[in-house]
């Protein structure tokens, strides 16, 4: 059970592709996913994409102590997204802020449709997403890692949710925005899907897009999700073999 944190030094790129890191408009950043990286957690995963490093861990199904949250006929899926103080350029003060509270909520809503919660009444499944280093697109990275951790925990699911963003930067619609492209770009559309059916479980958008551009971005993001989905499956196969 070893996670390897590689030092991905991002190239500054050239002018040819029009993107700072020299990617094609529909190209993902370099990524890797590993399942089962933590000893104590029931399920866990480690994901790197570009300069992002994200750990996800799952505990449960287990007893729910907060009675007001308890559902008589199903489990609740609680998600906590947190950023390490050293994950960003200017140290982030530890503890939840408004942004991480919102991301925790949308992440749990993105994962919930895939999980057979009705199998575990009155209990909870806790998902923890820990951003160790951030470089744009951490919510998508977190959700993608969280589904692998859920699978690693052996929680019955309809599908493995996968997330990816597309957006607009330099007047072009592009896939998987890096930190620079997100900050200087014109729009960001993170989505999560269940790849088997194509159902969308998360959709956010900020910026400015025409209807046509939005359609392009959505198609790009869905394609990105499908590529990442294969890596999720490979991570689980790597951990548990092919059978």
């Amino acid at each position: 059970m070893i996670i390897i944190i590689t030092n991905t030094n991002l190239g500054t790129g050239t002018e040819t592709s029009g993107r700072a890191d020299n990617r094609a408009f529909d190209e993902l950043r370099k990524m890797k996913i590993e399942a089962g990286v933590l000893e104590r957690a029931d399920g866990s995963a480690y994901l790197e994409i570009g300069g992002n490093k994200v750990l996800a861990a799952v505990y449960g199904p287990r007893e729910l102590f907060v009675r007001r949250l308890m559902q008589p006929n199903r489990a609740v899926l609680r998600c906590k997204y947190n950023m390490a103080p050293f994950s960003v350029d200017d140290r982030k003060r530890p503890g939840p802020d408004r942004r991480s509270v919102e991301i925790s909520k949308i992440a749990s809503e993105a994962l919930t449709p895939a999980v057979f919660l009705e199998k575990f009444p009155r209990s909870t499944i806790d998902v923890f997403i820990e951003v160790i280093e951030a470089e744009g697109g951490t919510r998508c990275a977190g959700i993608t890692a969280a589904s692998v951790a859920l699978a690693d925990a052996g929680i019955p699911m309809r599908d493995m949710v996968v997330a990816c963003a597309a957006g607009k930067s330099d007047d072009k619609v592009i896939l998987d925005l890096s930190e620079v492209e997100d900050k200087e770009g014109q729009a960001d559309v993170p989505i999560a899907i269940m790849p088997r059916t194509g159902e969308i479980t998360l959709l956010q958008m900020d910026g400015n897009l025409t209807e046509e551009e939005f359609g392009q971005a959505l198609d790009l993001a869905i394609n990105g999700c499908k590529i990442i989905s294969e890596k999720q499956k490979a991570a689980i196969k790597n951990r548990y073999g092919d059978e």
Partner: protein, 263 residues
């Protein structure tokens, strides 16, 4: 949430120790496998990942410019903060730091401060006004016993890995030069060894199982020269004088071994 330890585990661990054995087959003065990787976070000016057995901590050091404390106007500031993440163990909860997290931060801080690991006086930029403040953040991601030794080892490695931009004073303003980074001034490499007392025996680097069963715990910080720079006793039971002296002499040998892992 309280962790319940089955009587049968308590008994078997205690009986093994009585016969001079440990559950994982180690000798009483033997550490689990240790791995230490400095520089794992590019966004942090200094970082390290440390694993002792399955215990895993990721440590980041981030400098900021701030005002010094009034009683030490020419000395930099070191702040240590620990997050016992809920992902690290089923009984850890998110929220403000609890007493265990505060103890871990303070003992780590004490070992580094009293061991004079960082030359804080060299972190003064403008006396009484501007100094470097080093924020040391410990992110505990997997808890399998003996956080103290991992915390100190990883923190020292992260500090040794830390680079600061050079500073210049231009028209009473501090100008940072990120093209010329200099290493954080390091004086010493104080490290810590922790012992658990189970029955009448003292064992180093307790695993989670052993921590659950132990009566008392003793952590000893030792400087490069072999002097003691920090100690902390924990747990409900007691140590006698001989046990403490024995722990100190083992700690001297073992921290010297740990020191070889530092870059």
């Amino acid at each position: 949430m309280v962790r319940i330890v089955p009587e049968i585990i308590k008994e078997s661990v205690t009986n093994l120790v009585k016969n001079g054995e440990r559950t994982d087959g180690r000798a009483f003065d033997e550490y689990r496998e240790i791995s230490l990787e400095p520089g794992v976070i590019e966004k942090a000016e200094g970082s390290a990942r440390v694993k002792i057995g399955n215990t895993q901590i990721i440590i980041g050091a981030k400098p900021q410019i701030g005002a010094p404390f009034g009683d030490t106007p020419n000395v930099g500031v070191l702040m240590t903060n620990t997050e016992l993440l809920p992902m690290a163990a089923p009984n850890f909860e998110s929220g403000p730091p609890d007493e265990n997290s505060v103890e871990l931060s303070r003992v780590t801080d004490r070992c580094i401060r009293e061991g004079e690991v960082v030359d804080l006086e060299k972190l003064c930029i403008v006396e009484g006004e501007k100094v470097w403040m080093i924020f040391l953040d410990l992110h505990v991601v997997d808890y399998d016993g003996n956080l103290m030794d991992a915390a100190v080892l990883g923190s020292v490695a992260a500090l040794m890995n830390t680079k600061l931009p050079t500073t210049k004073i231009v028209d009473d303003e501090v100008v940072l030069d990120y093209d010329n980074m200099v290493p954080l001034p390091i004086n010493d490499t104080a490290l810590m060894s922790t012992f658990a007392k189970i029955g009448d025996e003292i064992l180093i680097d307790p695993s989670l199982e052993e921590e659950d069963v132990m009566g008392a715990r003793l952590s000893v910080g030792i400087t490069q020269e072999g002097n003691i720079c920090a100690m902390q006793k924990g747990g409900a039971k007691t140590f006698n004088k001989e046990e403490i002296l024995k722990a100190v002499s083992i700690a001297k040998i073992k921290t010297a071994e740990l020191r070889t892992l530092l870059p």
